[in-house]
Symmetry: C2
Subunit: 333 residues, 2 copies
Amino acid sequence: MKKVTITDIAKLTGYSIKTVSRVINNEPNVREETRRKILRVIEEHNYSVNLLAKALRNSETRTVILFIDRRRGKYWNEWHDLMLKSFMVKLKERGYKVIISPSSGEEMINNDADGFHLLKSGLADGAIMFDVISNDCRVNYLRANNIPFVIIGKDKDFNDTAFVDLDNYLVGYIGAEYLIKKGYKNIVLFLGPKVFNVNRERAKGFEDACKKHNTAHSIYYGLSTIKEVYKMTHILLERAVVDSFFISGDDKALGAYRAIREKALKIPENVAVLGIDNLPSSEYMYPPLTSIDQNVEKFSEKAVNLLIEMMHSKKKSPQRIILTPKIVERQSV
Amino acid sequence: MKKVTITDIAKLTGYSIKTVSRVINNEPNVREETRRKILRVIEEHNYSVNLLAKALRNSETRTVILFIDRRRGKYWNEWHDLMLKSFMVKLKERGYKVIISPSSGEEMINNDADGFHLLKSGLADGAIMFDVISNDCRVNYLRANNIPFVIIGKDKDFNDTAFVDLDNYLVGYIGAEYLIKKGYKNIVLFLGPKVFNVNRERAKGFEDACKKHNTAHSIYYGLSTIKEVYKMTHILLERAVVDSFFISGDDKALGAYRAIREKALKIPENVAVLGIDNLPSSEYMYPPLTSIDQNVEKFSEKAVNLLIEMMHSKKKSPQRIILTPKIVERQSV
DNA sequence: CTGAAAGCGCTTACAG
DNA sequence: CTGAAAGCGCTTACAG
């Protein structure tokens, strides 16, 4: 069954390709009767525009690529899931298709399936980038080629790129202060891989607050899974000095909860746990997790608006939006 | 900055478009020296193939669409996230790009951003469909137009479609039997929306097992969020006859856990909770959740293999793969 | 080993 | 209100 094309419709109706094209695109200057006739034939033959051909002609695809770091999904956590869904709903509302590409900023894969390659070859109009690292090869390339993109996170390398970010320094800072004010004296911060800017910023804010208040503290990088957090919590509780865990990613807090219970300690009486992300499920943990919220909906809304603006205007006016984190108090601290 | 095309490279090197094309596609019959020369110019000018044009010519896009039900993500749960990631990794390994489209089977949206429309217009070679309903409009269309697709779930409407599914009848059946054998006497099953085939099948298996063993039971549909499960658990515990909750979707079990605790009841001594999905976090719940596993990796692997086979052969040989669920015993029953 | 021509399905000026 | 021609960037026969 061959696909029916605009030429077929033209032949079938006796009109020219151009007239059919006018009807399809709802352009003026077509007699009402002609329009009706053509529409009927289109309907009958179940014709629909070949987006490929259209995009080739217009050099506009109405597609956006979302880059998320690969590592086989290891670093792709529940916050990413939440953001993803939010982006997809919002972009679709605005008439954009979404391609998701697991690519990292560390190396450029020369593979037709790599989202990076898609952008080079004109299969998308713009990009949203997660998990940016220093000297990110994707950023370098997109910037050099004038392809519109918005970074989720800060960009330290250039000052002419657009980004939306949570104030991650502040996340670390207010988290530490909150624990300190509640009377905890030995705080541990668990973070994901050190390559990601976000983690280094949280660490900085955390450290500054602890130093200011002269509080014992330590930082552990590279804890990406619930299991790793579980094991590390056990190890640290062995030493019996830590009295509070500050965990980047609520989804991993469950690992700490379990280790703490296994040591027969009580949350928050003996040990506090403070999360980051404020996931929907955190409220249902036992005890309900106190966490630092980052308003996913607002985050994605800002990024989508920014990107669409950039794709339309094509002029460079890099905006940088910083969102403020907020502690949501529950019962784990 | 205009994008450099194959014509530019041809002019720049003095060779014909065709020869350049040969080099790009690694075809034989090019003198080594010619190849080197052309490759150098390609490199210098940062040329890359326009996938749009290539796809138009080849009528192959190497793209697969993943359909997930919309409803603003309400029914899109953690199991979907897991499957999604698994699909993306596997499809990428095979050289396919992934477009994710939140579309439901209930209505056909006439919007360029709807994944459904993308398929009609040749922007993808095949599709994987989640959350299929009876008389699903996407299935009807794809089938009528000979577009390769694999359903995640059973198809009751046609017998010439391909699908991979968990044996959901068995899920309901073994879940109920497991609870009954552990001595529970009044079982409640929580399910998502009734429109989805998967939920109706689980209900059927559950009911059959309960009837066989003459056990008191009831089924509640439309529980899609952790909050809804939380509230409903409270309501049912009020009546104080229910002694076990069988919950479709581990991520929602946390809601039941909380309600049970708030009634000062113990899991599993007073009330049992049995989940479905066996999510990574279930092991870390308190108490660790007993759940029915469905092997996400195997699931997606089968579906990807099936789809790729169909896209290549183009011949109709609908395969139907049924996976067997397995109870993973932990401490909540 | 290399190339000129035709065409994938559409739209953009331009002409009538 | 309608249409013929050119072209988007590529590949597929075909010819030499």
